[in-house]
């Protein structure tokens, strides 16, 4: 490769030799090594703090381990225990409900927000900043604030009462606890995905819209035949990213409901935490986290396939 590069004769002889590949190593090979050394710290971090624990968790899922006694190999027993545990099934379905309950509204509301903010209007920057505010807040603060807002005597019920709607015990009733957490997830996710949509919208060349206007296309025709097809890779990205981030929710159920009432908000990450760090069944918790991993991996594969279909490589 190095030999193919045109060599500037004004360069010092050592560099000329290097570029031309005359030394032991070509410039290309040097650059390759330099690049490798640049990514090395990140790679080491990934190996130590991500891949190694993941492999350990996978290994642990075949052991019985309570932190205090030595691990005992039990084969697939942990997976079998999970399969027979109705609480695991409940948690899995709670996670699925939460994931779609949060993600689907996010796709539409975030797009609507982005379309609104993409238009020229007074105070656009301030509005953008205000909408981005929920994502900038610490998650624990969000959980605490919403916990008080959802209280029977809290702000949400006070507002509802002015419309004649009776007091709802949001976090204490099975029917309302999960929807209440879903609403927070949506509120927090819209700004992030709105910004991603906005970036996608701003990347669409104005010429397409101008050409469509000249051809007599109306607002809806331009939206459906110009904006949406060109935004498709962004839409796909947002869809999958929102699903992945929703299925990992943990802090809100922990702080606001502790998985209750009657396990209706016990999402899979909370189930894993409780099994591992409250009941000290680390092997079973590792097996549950492997199930979650396979589930997320499946979603990621779907993402890659959809992205390719959307024309994004």
């Amino acid at each position: 490769m190095g030999r193919e590069i045109g060599v500037d004769r004004t360069l010092p002889s050592k560099i000329r030799r290097l570029v031309a590949g005359g030394g032991k190593r070509s410039l290309h090979s040097h650059l390759r090594w330099a690049g490798f050394f640049f990514v090395l710290p990140a790679l080491i971090h990934l190996i130590i703090f991500k891949f190694y624990p993941m492999l350990q968790a996978f290994r642990l899922s075949f052991y019985r381990y309570d932190l205090m006694s030595p691990p005992v190999f039990t084969g697939l027993e942990n997976y079998n225990l999970l399969w027979q545990n109705p609480l695991f099934h409940q948690s899995f379905w709670v996670s699925v409900k939460y994931m779609f309950g949060v993600s689907i509204p996010e796709w539409f509301f975030a797009l609507a927000l982005a379309l609104l903010l993409n238009r020229r209007m007074p105070g656009r920057s301030v509005i953008r900043l205000a909408y981005f505010f929920p994502i900038a807040m610490s998650q624990i603060v969000v959980a605490m604030v919403w916990k008080f807002m959802y209280h029977p005597y809290g702000l949400v019920n006070t507002i509802l009462e002015t419309f004649g709607i009776g007091r709802i015990n949001w976090l204490s009733m099975e029917e309302s606890a999960l929807p209440a957490l879903i609403a927070i997830g949506i509120w927090r996710g819209i700004p992030l995905f709105g910004v991603i949509y906005l970036a996608g919208l701003q990347a669409i060349p104005k010429e397409y819209h101008e050409a469509a206007i000249i051809d007599g296309a109306g607002v809806f025709q331009r939206f459906f035949y110009v904006t949406i097809p060109l935004l498709l890779p962004t839409i796909t990205f947002v869809m999958v990213l929102s699903l992945l981030s929703a299925v990992k929710v943990f802090l809100n159920p922990l702080v606001m409901t502790e998985g209750g009432p009657n396990g209706t908000t016990k999402v899979l990450p909370y189930f894993i935490y409780e099994t591992g760090f409250a009941f000290f069944r680390m092997g079973e918790a590792a097996a549950a986290s492997m199930v979650l991993f396979v589930f997320l991996f499946g979603l990621t594969l779907i993402q890659l396939r959809l992205l390719r279909r959307g024309g994004v490589e």
């Binding site: 005597y153 396990g263 069944r281």
Partner: protein, 423 residues
């Protein structure tokens, strides 16, 4: 030459330091806990015992027990540490606690030691005839009533306070305050914030009806027995039949479980002696403490629990002996513990200690100690947290969804049996 001199000087200094009596005799003891009172006692100890200084590390309670378990597994725990009684079966099963030696604390043996304590106060820390932790406080539950609310409802707080669960429902109904269809003050409420609190109530009520959560072997759930159903119905009746409480409105949290009482949102609430200090004298002026409600007041059973001090088994015997000296210093200071925490000391003669007369009159010490002496610790099981969660879910189904008690407890027992079957 300069380097030679410096090296020899350093070696000489180090040798002098190592062989000096102060250095050679110093035994540093580490202690993990979650009480500010312990900090003060440690400071006092360190002043008197410079050769065995104690280093006290304070942790918030919930993550503390997780940290402790992880540390015990990796043999990196402190020399002594605080634990809550119901974690003991799990720890003793794994041999991560050293037995407490009564003879090192000045007693002849465990039986002799028991005689110095309120009857049953050490039961929660004994496993297979050995004591594994030493309680500096004794904690039980009693009923706190708001005397202002009683008088408002035309009740005499000194005579009309509830003795039985039926009384709680009947009197609680009179104390309820409504605004339209909305309950703005509960007559009585059970804490809803924690599965452990749920189990304290349920375990006690099932015992009051003559039942138990588990069979004698600890391998089979009995919570769905007749006694269990009756115990669960106690909660259901107070909420649904007497309508004395709205179980969904409590603002109680793990940090402040009894917060609804001083705020006037509930008229009667069951809590521990520590609440006296938490509420403060201003609130306690209109709060009276009465005995824990019973099914049959002639056969009283109350819930008790406690935080106690345990010793790391992985330290040398000489160090364990030194730790026992610290334990003795810490638990013997019953007055300091009481003044700082409001919890009575499990010492049999605690009420007769000098200076307790006033507390007996104004801080309901006699009621607390009486309830403690009728007390029984939570069901012993190394799966206690799973038991608590299953019973808590059963209670939520009964109280919040009005599910049949028997059906709900059958489901809980299925979950408990599955947990107990796991190794």
């Amino acid at each position: 030459m300069r380097r030679f001199l410096m090296t020899h000087l350093l070696v000489g200094l180090l040798t002098a330091l190592l062989v000096s009596p102060a250095f050679a005799q110093q035994t540093r003891i580490t202690w993990w806990g979650h009480s500010n009172c312990s900090k003060d006692l440690v400071a006092e100890w360190n002043k008197k015992n410079p050769n065995t200084p104690v280093q006290y590390d304070f942790f918030a309670m919930t993550p503390y027990f997780q940290k402790l378990t992880a540390a015990l597994s990796t043999r990196s725990a402190a020399d002594m540490f605080t634990l809550i009684d119901f974690l003991l079966p799990g720890f003793t099963a794994k041999n991560v606690l050293a037995p407490i030696r009564p003879e090192w604390l000045g007693y002849k043996d465990l039986e002799d030691m028991k005689k110095a304590y309120i009857p049953g106060a050490l039961d929660g820390y004994i496993h297979k005839g050995k004591l594994y932790a030493l309680p500096p406080i004794a904690s039980g539950f009693s009923l706190f009533i708001n005397t202002k609310h009683f008088r408002e409802a035309g009740l005499d707080p000194d005579k009309d306070y509830p003795r039985t669960w039926e009384d709680v429902g009947r009197i609680g109904k009179k104390l309820v305050k409504m605004r339209g269809s909305r309950m703005v003050r509960e007559g009585f409420d059970f804490a809803m914030h924690s599965s452990t609190w749920t189990m304290w109530y349920f375990n006690t009520t099932i015992r009051q009806y003559g039942g138990e959560i588990l069979d004698a072997s600890g391998k089979k759930c009995l919570a769905n027995s007749e006694a269990g159903v009756k115990a669960m119905n106690v909660r259901a009746r107070i909420a649904h039949h007497y309508k004395a409480s709205d179980p969904t409105v409590s603002l109680g949290t793990n940090a402040l479980p009894a917060d609804d009482l001083p705020k006037g949102r509930v008229s009667m609430f069951i809590t521990h002696a520590g609440s006296v200090a938490q509420f403060g004298p201003k609130v306690m002026k209109y709060v009276k403490v009465v005995p824990f409600p019973q099914v049959d007041p002639k056969k009283p059973v109350t819930p008790i629990y406690g935080f106690a001090l345990a010793v790391n088994p992985h330290i040398s015997e000489a160090k364990q002996r030194a730790v026992h000296k610290v334990l003795k210093h810490v638990v013997n200071d019953s007055k300091t513990w009481y003044e700082r925490t409001s919890y009575p000391h499990p010492d049999k003669n605690f009420l007769n200690l000098p200076g307790m007369e006033d507390a007996r009159k104004t801080r309901y010490l006699d009621v607390f100690v009486k309830d403690i002496s009728n007390g029984r610790f939570l069901q012993r099981s190394d799966k206690v947290l799973e038991l608590n969660q299953a019973i808590h879910r059963a209670m939520e189904r009964v109280v919040l969804k009005k599910e049949d008690s028997k059906k709900s407890l059958d489901r809980a027992c299925k979950e408990i049996d599955a947990a107990l079957a796991k190794k």
